[in-house]
């Protein structure tokens, strides 16, 4: 079974700074998808970014980018020019391309942006 580990329960950073959230995972599969979801205080789960394992190029969405290291099974999220609206829980998730397509989540990192 796949597992996803987020080793940073909480982080805080000053507004406009850059912050990196770490995520590691364990799998025996060669092809899969990785996701970062954001959960603001509103409780809604919002997709931030997605990475396909067979693509070496790191995914980027505006201020959000990932550092995907397949051999190391690492998938970190970098937020540049952080904004107050980035304050949220961030979850890393793994999804196989086989079977039932369920997402396996990490335990989350609570990020606080300090004004």
């Amino acid at each position: 079974a796949q597992t996803v580990t987020q080793s940073q329960p909480e982080m805080s950073v000053q507004e406009a700074e850059t912050v990196t959230l770490s995520c590691t995972y364990d799998t025996s599969e060669n092809n899969y998808y990785l996701f970062w979801y954001k959960q603001p205080p509103s409780r809604q789960m919002i997709l931030v970014i997605r990475q396909e394992a067979y693509k070496q190029q790191n995914a980027t969405e505006n201020r959000f980018s990932v550092n995907f290291q397949k051999a190391a099974k690492s998938f970190s999220l970098k937020i540049s020019d952080s904004q107050l609206g980035d304050t949220a829980m961030y979850f890393c998730a793994y999804r196989s391309v086989f079977g039932n397509e369920k997402l396996t989540f990490g335990t989350g990192t609570r990020l606080t942006i300090i004004p």
Binding site: V4, Q6, P9, Y33, F35, S42, R43, Q44, M45, L47, R50, E52, F91, R95, V97, F98, N100, E101, K102, L103, T104, F105, G106, T107, G108
Partner: protein, 115 residues
């Protein structure tokens, strides 16, 4: 543009009572999921469905039942609520196209308290 709708948003139950959480999606998605979110544990899969009339157990299925009689609806039932089932419950849906690695779309959650 409803997406995934969960009802109710909040509920308080006494131990031993029963209830049903309703999830409805209007995106014609094949796959539907029920997760629970607890502090420090991320989201854990309770049950899921890969199509109308099918259901399967996830990581933490004990004490819950589900039904998918219509493609757009996925019901989660608690037959005899216990305090350990106090949690936030999320429904999600996804297309059946594995190759696209489509993300899960989440509802806004139901906060359930069992006293």
């Amino acid at each position: 543009n409803a997406g995934v709708t969960q009802t109710p948003k909040f509920r308080v139950l006494k131990t031993g009572q029963s209830m049903t959480l309703l999830c409805a999606q209007d995106m014609n998605h094949e796959y539907m999921y029920w997760y629970r979110q607890d502090p420090g544990m991320g989201l854990r899969l309770i049950h899921y469905s890969v199509g109308e009339g099918t259901t399967a157990k996830g990581e933490v299925p004990d004490g819950y039942n589900v039904s998918r009689l219509k493609k757009q609806n996925f019901l989660l039932g608690l037959e005899s609520a216990a305090p350990s089932q106090t949690s936030v419950y999320f429904c999600a849906s996804a297309t059946g196209d594995v190759g696209l690695g489509s993300p899960l779309h989440f509802g806004n959650g139901t906060r359930l308290t069992v006293t």
